[in-house]
């Protein structure tokens, strides 16, 4: 088992290298020039050229790639071109916001999404099923910025229950303000995820509930509640874990739109800022970190598989 985890992590190294090279190439393919951004609109061509030289952007592209890789090999992600900060410290500063939001959103999503999915499957083709699928459809198809704006109008402006924007750190501001600053964006994010998770749980449960062992459970006199919850859901859990992993990956990447609407200083906003300013090291660094986070989440999901399904083994 331990060996298998190590092997999986080793296997992810080529993937991460590919992510690094691709994010580097894509960024340099985009039109725009960080030197122009830094120098400002009124700068002379000579000043722009000087900045470009200082940043090493006058070097051939493969040399830039090589020197970035050499830095990575030493554990250096480089410094942001515009933030006056290293990439690592910029990410470290914003990560707690995104992680807080992700944790809260997942806490809302999992119980609701799973319950709705199970109910829809159990009462298939009834009004309950139709209702859940309607909620799911709305959740996945209505754009989150629109939900976010409506939510702000209702809960912040009209009712005044929670602040409309900004982030209160857990350690300095305390749990109350922290929670108040995140609950609204977390719920907006969850609406999409609940829809996604409910649909996937429903289809996994529909498969399971048709299986022979469900009939066996009923023939034993097991209650419907236990038949569905224990015999059924335990078997649908592999699919639920997979989807939860995907949701978590999406959340770690930061929700660009929701962080923007609620002015949360998280990873999503950092990436947008970086792209706007053509901040090459920042974008490359964050992309690589995301890649690493995805790999870790996938390994974690694979490990959880062995816990929920005894037939899965890695040895």
């Amino acid at each position: 088992m331990f060996r298998a985890i190590i092997v999986r992590l080793m296997q992810s190294i080529p993937v991460l290298l590919l992510v690094a090279v691709l994010s580097f190439i894509l960024m340099h393919l985009l039109p725009g020039d960080p030197a122009v951004v830094i120098a400002g609109a009124d700068a002379t061509p000579a000043a722009v050229e000087r900045i470009r030289r200082e940043l090493g952007l006058d070097q051939p592209i493969w040399e830039q790639l090589l020197s970035w890789f050499l830095g990575l090999a030493q554990g250096k992600f480089g410094s942001s071109l515009v933030l006056n900060q290293t990439v690592l410290s910029a990410v470290a500063e914003r990560l707690p916001v995104t992680l807080s939001l992700a944790a809260l959103s997942l806490t809302i999503t999992l119980p609701i999404g799973i319950t709705l999915g199970i109910l829809a499957a159990y009462f298939r083709s009834s009004w309950i099923d139709a209702g859940v699928m309607m909620i799911a459809l709305i959740g996945v198809s209505v754009p989150s910025f629109w939900i976010a704006i409506l939510s702000v109008i209702l809960f912040s402006v009209t009712l005044g229950w929670v602040p409309s924007s900004g982030y209160a750190p857990l350690l300095t501001a305390g749990p109350g303000p922290w929670f108040a600053s995140l609950i609204q964006p977390a719920m907006v994010l969850s609406l999409f995820q609940i829809g996604f998770l409910a649909r996937m749980t429903r289809s996994a449960m529909l498969d399971v509930l048709d299986q022979d062992f469900i009939r066996t459970a009923r023939a034993k006199g097991v209650s419907e509640w236990r038949t569905v919850g224990k015999h059924g859901f335990r078997n649908a859990l592999v699919a639920v874990v997979t989807v939860s992993g995907i949701i978590l990956s999406l959340l770690i990447g930061g929700s660009v739109v929701v962080e923007q609407v609620f002015a949360l200083p998280g990873i999503g906003r950092l990436v947008v800022q970086g792209i706007m300013a053509r901040d090459y090291p920042l974008i490359q660094g964050t992309m690589l970190l995301f890649g690493f986070a995805f790999v870790l989440i996938n390994v974690a999901v694979d490990i959880i598989y062995t816990l929920v399904d005894p037939r899965v083994r890695y040895d």
Partner: protein, 329 residues
Amino acid sequence: MAEKPLLSVENLTVQFRGDAGWVKAVEGVDFAVGAGECLGIVGESGSGKSVSALSILKLHNQSNTRYASGAIRYGDRDLLTLPQRRLRQVRGGEIAMIFQDPMSSLNPVLTIADQIMEPLRQHQGLSVQAARRKAIELLEMVRISDASRRIDDYPHRLSGGMRQRVMIAIAVACRPKLLIADEPTTALDVTIQSQILELLRELQREIGMSVILITHDLGVVAQFAQRVVVMYAGRVVETASVPALFERPMHPYTEGLIRAVPNLDEDVHRLTTIPGNIPDPSMSIAGCRFSPRCREAVKSCLSEPPALVDAGAGHFARCPPRIAAGGIS
């Protein structure tokens, strides 16, 4: 069967929802099983034997099944109208069931222990420790070696025959009065088949339970059952004691079935068959449902649905011309 039977199915009609409305899977089915008796139900695929058996404990998918008529009398209760809670006490406690495919009938993510202990805890209210001890005893009873270790295995580590033994252990856990075995050996090797049947026979004697054995194998019925119900296209066509049925089959279909069993003492080049196929349940046939395949069909067979007629000595057949002629043609 002079005294009251343990369980009797009366005029059972079951319908499934299909694309074109409700389809009758079985119609007007009657049979009864006495205490300690073994009743065989035979018929080919689609004859309605499994549908009838699953109806006893109402194990069909509720959303697309309708019990259009009939009653399932068990004691003074009708299982078809019993409230869900009371029905659950009967399921697994008084009437247990084993199924055709032991590979898919056990829950893959729960241990054997968990699955055997469930009915014990549910119906007998045993503590975890007591249920576990009882579960090990049950595994030994169905001849699983090294039971105290096997009990913590998951089903995928067991062979098909072993899984069917586990299913049997689960079924007999609460010493049921009736065991319904729905083609319990169909998915198994021939050698394992006879072991499983032998085991069922022993357990039946030991517990004193009745058995309803559903099979398409007349040989199994001859070995195991005292009485037989022959089903065809969702109806009972003949019911008799085992000796009577094999000596004097009344219905042409039963006769065809018995003829179709190859005789190993002879050098046979071509197996005997009944020409044609079982009709689709959605097809409406005015008269006898077997008439399209029957060599002896007369005019009345094509227009009038035949009744199940008493031919004497508990032998019933749904073939009035044959019975009028005194049995064998």
